[in-house]
């Protein structure tokens, strides 16, 4: 089960990075993408979705019962959630690093919308600073 779970977790993590890249490109969230080129971002996203899935299904037999080493529904849900969380952390970290020189234009926009103009690291710092000021008042 352990090796199967690791394979599934890695596949989900990679594919989730890919779908977040595609969605960020569609939504115009420049602070969340790894490349400035929209086409390159979408292409990278598509490769990150398809390649791990092909590897997952072609490397070993995957239609196996949970008591023969597969995953039951609960384990599948847990490893999917962990994989998605990992993908999110990796995406936010890498995009904040590669877009470090992005001009900081955090305006009235908040939440994900702020990522249209700035990196996640800057946006979350500004958001939390605003929150703490509101609490103090």
């Amino acid at each position: 089960m352990f090796s199967f779970a690791i394979d599934y977790y890695l596949t989900v993590s990679m594919a989730a990075i890919g779908v977040v890249q595609i969605a960020a490109a569609i939504g115009g969230l420049q602070g969340l993408v790894f490349f400035r080129s929209n086409i390159l971002t979408r292409l990278t996203g598509a490769i990150l979705v398809v390649a791990p899935a092909v590897w997952f299904f072609s490397s070993k037999p995957r239609n196996i019962n949970d008591y023969d080493g597969g995953l039951d529904a609960n384990e599948q849900a847990i490893f999917f959630a962990l994989g998605s969380l990992t993908a999110l952390v990796v995406t936010l970290t890498i995009s904040s690093l590669v877009n470090f020189r992005m001009r900081c234009r955090v305006g009235p926009k908040a939440g994900l919308d702020a990522l249209e103009n700035t990196t996640y690291a800057r946006a979350v710092l500004v958001s939390l600073r605003c929150r703490s000021k509101q609490w103090r008042i």
């Binding site: 969340l32 529904a73 946006a123």
Partner: protein, 193 residues
Amino acid sequence: MANIDTVLFTWINRGAGHISVLDSVMKWLASDYLVPGSLCLILLSMWFAGINQAERQRYQVGVLIALGSMVIVSGTVMFVNSFYFRDRPFVNMDVLLLFYKPTDSSFPANSAAVSFALAAAIWAVNRRIGWAMFGAAALYGFARVFSGVHYPLDIIVGGGIGMGVAGVLHWSKKLFEPLLMAVIRVARVFCLA
């Protein structure tokens, strides 16, 4: 009804074992990982995909309803299974099996219930993506019958439960909108919604 179901199952399952490429495609489609994983990845992408704040928020409400539907649907199927158990087709019939032998109840199909619930919840906020998800859910259901692990009625009833639960949650979302908006507001503080 059970007779029609058996006849329909036999007719669909008869297609297995003739064309190896078709069998391989069906094994992939019937897998526990491909379609459910893809549908969940679509949910993840929907969270980020809107082109403005209003659209993004509508999609995020749809994603939260889809997750809620998934939990309720799984609970409903478990509840039905606690007092009704239907054997898998391969237990009582001569079946060409392309899949491992599941030991849980065949009726209603949890796989169909969950995938149709996700599709219906997203269809309510984006028709195009919703239809694509319905297509994937229908193919998944068909592949499960083709592979010999479900009767058609299991898929139809499972899909009906899934769509019903997602529909009820969507039409009554005003009741628990404060909770959904609270989740989105907390995520917005961390720039995640």
